[in-house]
Symmetry: C2
Subunit: 326 residues, 2 copies
């Protein structure tokens, strides 16, 4: 008699680079029909009349092996001839919109103007790049993260993030449009059918918060009696990449895995910390009264420098979850 | 006492590459405020959601010295990274939309969507590239040349011209939208104020016909008792560039300067043939009963291979007109 190993249906929530790495690993260990990647859209913006979706693009380029391995976003070996020309026209060029990348924005914008929903557009682009798992924006409606700062007042997200290189001090964050945004039927179905819900090592305040702010998402997640596990974006008291630690500090929060855990609160019943934070884990178990097997608390090497480490972490997470009784 | 030489106010009608060369020469011998270049828009089209105006761009890149000297259109040393990416997405890439060139279309399209008229957009783009003479689309309204062919039925102009490399046999030409298009006030004023009206060595059927089909233009030109002179696009029984001769043949016309003269008819009171066609000139004077000084008929070397030859031809034309009494 043959044993048939059946993979779980996994939904993973992601923002940009960190989440993309985990999604990549998962896409290499799960059959494509078992994996759904749900992506933040609150970084999306209009630039030169083009609709740019940085997180969707990062995931898409990562899953299709087109991604620039140094930056973790954009297309490898891309060029800046269009930008050079924009500069000649006297236009601002602080957002690095490269030439190969432009085709993505041109097609997306063209289809948006035709009335095609972002979900369908994303599916078209991804499938044409050979991506076989499901890649979904959390909503087809626009959400825009607004960063309120002292120095520059209210900044649109990309101004804060790219133009000012996340240097202005954050006073508060606003996810404009989130409460009016509608969860898509594709996202609802994926969450209803999931055997496992994961949160990538993405920035809780910039990537995850605007996802779970969409009405119905948080309740639907919490209603599922399945493993719901986040991977920490904080390792050894620092953000692996980007402004997570800086923002935590500016919002008056301790820069620690514990703060991330508190952010997620009852969305989770499991958490993956980094091996470098084993002491933190012990501390978490004690202070949060999180005792196995009710709460899954593990530490792995979460640094995903190369393809192999992304696959390894994904395998370890799925194996751990498989052997765990809620 | 100082003699002050006052340049004439010149309007030149142009299509693409040939017209651009004459406009370039004129721009080097006239003060910028004395030169208005009025451009065909019937080649304009939408591609990947961008508004592309091939003739306006060719003139603009030529006047700003950005033009690719080999093709006579596009920007020199431009690259095709975006197109490579479009190909990866499985899109058609028969229209060579290069990377630096994209900035022009992106800005134009963005402003069009904002409601800015093409005249104002053209002025913005041209002035940012350092162009100081006046560059005007003949109308802000869309006109589209449709080429009726036997092999492929009705083709949009760029399909005919680029996708099928002007190989299909032309049955007839249609300037869709022309009779509903409105001459702009800027074009009207330039024509009313002109001391000289020129027609570049552009394709009469593809570049000039859709201009003079705009209501009021032809009547206004004919009403002006000033030199109105065309430069031949036919030299030695051949088109200097492009499909002019082929189309003449397909429309059942003789490929000659005389046919061009008949096309223009009473829009002109002067014509510049090429020195290679001196016999034609003699013939024209006889058959058309065109006798100086009523009708200006001259032959020059109209081949404009380098900057110097463009300037030379422009100077000769203006000098000849200056010495001519209508």
């Amino acid at each position: 008699m043959e044993m048939i190993y059946s993979s779980p249906r996994v939904v993973v929530f992601v923002g940009g680079v960190g989440g993309a790495k985990l999604a990549y690993g998962l896409s290499r260990v799960l059959p494509p029909e078992q994996l759904t990647v749900i992506v933040n859209v609150a970084d999306d913006f209009w630039h030169y009349g083009l609709r740019i979706c940085p997180d969707l693009d990062t995931i898409m380029y990562t899953l299709s092996n087109l991604v620039d391995p140094v930056n973790g976003w954009g297309i490898a070996d891309d060029t800046t001839a269009m930008l050079k020309s924009m500069q000649r026209y006297g236009e601002e060029t602080w957002f690095t919109l490269k030439d190969q990348d432009l085709a993505t924005h041109l097609l997306r914008t063209y289809w948006l103007h035709e009335g095609v929903p972002l979900t369908e557009i994303t599916q078209r682009l991804a499938s044409r790049l050979g991506i076989t798992c499901s890649l979904l924006p959390v909503t087809d409606d626009p959400i825009m993260t607004v960063v309120h700062t002292e120095e520059h007042g209210s900044l649109e997200f990309q101004e804060y993030f790219v133009k000012y290189r996340w240097q202005p001090r954050v006073q508060s964050l606003e996810y404009r449009g989130a409460t009016d945004a509608r969860m898509t039927s594709e996202v609802r179905r994926a969450l209803e059918d999931a055997d496992v819900i994961l949160f990538g090592p993405s920035n809780p305040w910039l990537s995850i918060a605007p996802i779970v702010a969409v009405p119905g998402i948080a309740d639907l997640i919490k209603s599922r009696n399945i493993p719901r596990v986040a991977v920490t974006p904080i390792v050894d008291g620092r953000a692996v990449k980007g402004p997570a630690a800086k923002i935590m500090d500016e919002l008056g929060l301790e820069i620690s895995a514990q703060t991330v855990l508190e952010f997620y609160s009852d969305l989770l019943n499991g958490f993956i910390a980094d091996v470098r934070d084993d002491a933190t884990i012990t501390n978490l178990v004690q202070t949060q009264n999180l005792h196995m097997p009710r709460y899954l608390l593990k530490s792995f090497d979460t640094m995903m420098g190369d393809a192999q480490s992304k696959i390894m972490l994904s395998q370890k997470i799925l194996e751990t979850i498989e052997g765990w009784t809620l």
